[in-house]
Symmetry: C2
Subunit: 141 residues, 2 copies
């Protein structure tokens, strides 16, 4: 147990170093929180709250910085589903999402399950960067 925590901290440090990010206390601890268990969705606010709950002392500004740096380093993926706030996902692989509009929560749709056909060639001078599929769902009566 104690060992496990230590290991993840070491792993996190290595991961950060590989990504060209200094393994600071805040980054290591946030990485530990983020990549400990399975896939995870979050906003800056929710991560800041979770960190506080886990006893990690980190400012909201650093949470924002970290989310962006992790995203740039390919450790996280940003998910645009809501004009009001930004979501991030620890699952960086090819997958799509359900978005529960009433709750503002995301649910992963694994792997290659969804297939998008008939995508036209983009106009001259443009190349496809990514295809995002969002399935908006509502609580049914």
């Amino acid at each position: 147990m104690g060992k496990k925590v230590r290991e993840t901290a070491l792993e996190a440090s290595a991961k950060l170093r590989e990504a060209g990010l200094r393994p600071t206390r805040q980054r290591v601890e946030l990485a530990g929180l983020l990549f400990a268990d399975g896939d995870r969705h979050m906003t800056a606010e929710s991560l800041h709250a979770d960190a506080a709950a886990a006893g990690i002392q980190v400012s909201l500004a650093t949470v924002y910085n970290t989310l962006h740096q992790f995203t740039e380093a390919g450790l996280l993926r940003q998910v645009v589903v809501d004009a009001a706030r930004s979501y991030f996902d620890t699952n960086t692989g090819n997958h799509q999402h359900f978005f529960v509009e009433d709750e503002g929560t995301l649910i992963d749709i694994p792997g290659e399950q969804i297939e998008v056909a008939g995508v036209p060639v983009p106009p001259k001078g443009l190349t496809v960067d990514r295809i995002d599929v969002v399935i908006r769902v509502k609580r049914s009566a």
Copy 2:
């Protein structure tokens, strides 16, 4: 010419009345601007600017109100592609978008051209509201 403008104003008034919205000067003029030519994408700011350029006197607050009312009435569709601002589309039919990230512009992908297969059944208690596909494109070197 004069006649054309008058007609669109009349059409707009009718359309608004049908939607349960009072045909006020602002709403009629904005509708005229929006539904005059073909499909159109906009943000609140851009519509406000276009209105000003067209000599329509309307406050930004009213532009926001109008966009939301038109959307609720099914005259517009909201497109979520950018966490920073909200886009609206006069094309309310079933279609998807290219989003040019460098420019913040949208390009329609007509009709049934795109097909999404393999959508799983949503978790218990949830029903699909809409499926959005966004093809993010970049200016190629």
